[in-house]
């Protein structure tokens, strides 16, 4: 599947009566990798969940390749090409690794599981293990690989490195870099480890208190060290 463009206009969403993200607007070009940055609790995860259709949509629009998808349920958005890897990973703990991956194939032949094992060789070694028996890093690989098997044209990755050992982080980011380099998938990446995110991203959007407060290229972000201090409360090199 070819990479999709994403267009978000005046998005307002939340949970129940509570509005979390407000008037967010940005565009992502096909094949682009965008890092979504911001402090904890600023609405990054809610933004991702809203794009995936898991929150209450209050207003605004979301378009994938210019086709509006904000009225569609989660399953239809996934069918339209959106792949979502949540912060909670959400693997199926009582299914084996192979079965977890199989569910993500969306009708493609079982032989295509090899793609997942090629991306994350560690999963091949663990294919007979239950999802619940995997380490946090392996669960993250499984969740990511399962979503990628569905050939998403837009991949939403929510804090894939959270709580992982450095060696696993390297492995995951290397796989993500390979994926981004192919240009076959547009990626929206929420990540607290800014330096790692900037290694693969070519564009940055910054969220504060549910609103988009800055967007620009990674070069612009790096060129202005005050941005990281202002919006993340950290040094630019973190």
């Amino acid at each position: 599947m070819k990479a999709s463009s994403l267009s978000v206009r005046d998005l307002v969403a939340g949970y129940g009566p509570t509005i979390i993200v407000e008037d967010i607007a940005f565009d992502v070009a096909p094949g682009q990798c965008v890092a979504v940055l911001g402090r904890n609790g600023m609405g990054k995860t809610t933004l991702m969940a809203s794009l995936a259709g898991l929150t209450r949509h209050v207003g605004g629009s979301i378009a994938l390749d210019d086709a509006p998808i904000h009225t569609l349920p989660t399953s239809e958005r996934a069918r339209a090409g959106m792949g979502y890897v949540p912060q909670t990973r959400d693997i199926f703990p009582t299914l084996t690794v192979a079965e977890n991956l199989f569910v993500g194939l969306k009708g493609r032949p079982a032989a295509d599981l090899a793609e997942a094992y090629e991306l994350f060789p560690r999963l091949a070694e663990r294919r007979g293990n239950l999802g619940g028996q995997l380490s946090g890093g392996e669960q993250q690989m499984l969740s990511t690989a399962r979503t990628l098997l569905g050939k998403p044209s837009l991949l939403l990755l929510d804090e894939p490195l959270e709580g992982l050992a450095p060696v696993i982080c390297q492995e995951l980011m290397a796989a993500l870099a390979r994926l981004v380099a192919t240009g076959e998938t547009t990626v929206l990446l929420v990540e607290q480890r800014v330096a790692s995110a900037l290694e693969v991203a070519d564009h940055v959007i910054c969220i504060e208190r549910g609103s988009l407060v800055w967007q620009g290229s990674c070069t612009e972000w790096r060129a202005d060290p005050t941005l990281a201090e202002r919006y993340l409360g950290v040094s630019a090199l973190t």
């Binding site: 898991l54 989660t74 399953s75 199926f92 703990p93 009582t94 299914l95 079965e99 199989f102 979503t147």
Partner: protein, 323 residues
């Protein structure tokens, strides 16, 4: 790790050994054993719905009853071929599964449970009121079953009904074990754990669960038809809340989500009920209650589920030949 195929073959071998053993050791109880196998199908169908898909149900007897009355009414009206009656039971159960599942699956958790109870009570009352066709509280009689394949007559001792029941149960167990491991079964198991995740993978939860509910209806209906064929009478108890609740108890006793666990639970519960109720007709329910408490406390995954886990862990701990 033991392969799924090996587990299936072992399980089926155990069922066949028990079937042959039951035939040899208890020739006077074949009718009871045939009835037990009908209940096994009911509990297995509940396992598909609750154990595999995570749908709360206390109304599975509505589907069992649909099969029993479907086959029973057909037989009472001249359609006596047992294989045809099994087919009628299967279809009646599946249609009942579609009708009730379409309602039950709209809710979740406790409301879902209440809906399932309401539906089985409604079905019970409908069958009771339609006495002109169902026999009402007197039960449906006048069922005449033709010889199986034109050769094996359904005798008083229940030999034909017994072997027909064994064959049906074995076929159903084989098919369902494969179904649960197939991509559709994986999706259903995923649904039990996280419907949101399944939706994120591009699958709508409702149609997937409804499809499984219809399949479970077919299995329960098959069980109902088997009971109608083997006892040649269908009573209101076939479509009762009590039977639904007992099926859930049997499922908990055996263990959920494995199919074999459901069969084990039904076998153990029915057998205990048979033995204990004869030994102590007044307090047998107390003994069954004690069994349930013991299972929940000491084998929380059910008799089959806990044993399978214990064997798996033992295999994992055992030193391998290459070490």
């Amino acid at each position: 790790m033991k392969s799924p195929l090996a587990s299936d073959l072992t399980g089926i071998a155990v069922v066949l050994v028990l079937a042959v053993g039951g035939f040899i050791l208890f020739p006077d109880n074949l009718a009871f054993l045939a009835g037990m196998m009908a209940v096994i199908l009911l509990v297995v169908s509940l396992d598909l719905v609750s154990g595999v898909c995570g749908v709360a149900s206390l109304g599975q007897a509505a589907l069992f009853g649909a099969g029993a009355y479907g086959a029973g009414i057909a037989a009472a009206n001249g359609l006596g071929d047992p294989l045809l009656l099994l087919g009628i039971g299967l279809v009646a159960g599946a249609v009942a599964g579609l009708a009730t599942g379409a309602i039950i699956l709209r809710a979740h958790g406790l409301p879902q449970l209440v809906l399932s109870i309401a539906l089985v009570e409604l079905a019970h009352e409908a069958v009771n009121k339609a006495s002109f066709i169902t026999g009402g509280s007197d039960g449906l009689t006048g069922i005449r079953i033709s010889p199986l394949l034109g050769v094996f007559a359904f005798d008083l001792w229940g030999v034909t009904a017994y072997w027909l029941s064994v064959a049906v149960v074995v076929v159903v167990l084989v098919v369902l074990r494969r179904l649960v491991r197939a991509p559709f079964g994986m999706l259903c198991r995923g649904l039990r754990q996280s419907p949101v995740r399944v939706a994120s993978l591009g699958q709508r939860a409702y149609p997937v669960a409804l499809k499984m509910y219809v399949i479970a209806g077919g299995v329960a209906g098959l069980g109902g038809a088997l009971r109608a064929i083997s006892t040649q009478v269908v009573g209101l108890d076939s479509v009762s809340f009590t039977l639904s609740a007992e099926a859930l108890v049997m499922l908990i006793v055996g263990g959920t989500g494995t199919i074999f666990g459901a069969a084990t639970g039904a076998f153990v519960f029915e057998w205990m009920e048979h033995i204990v109720s004869v030994a102590n007709p007044f307090h047998w329910l107390a003994i069954v209650g004690a069994l349930l408490i013991a299972v929940v406390l000491f084998a929380p995954h059910g008799l089959y589920g806990s044993t399978a886990r214990w064997l798996h862990e033992r295999r994992m701990r055992a030193p391998r030949a290459d070490e």
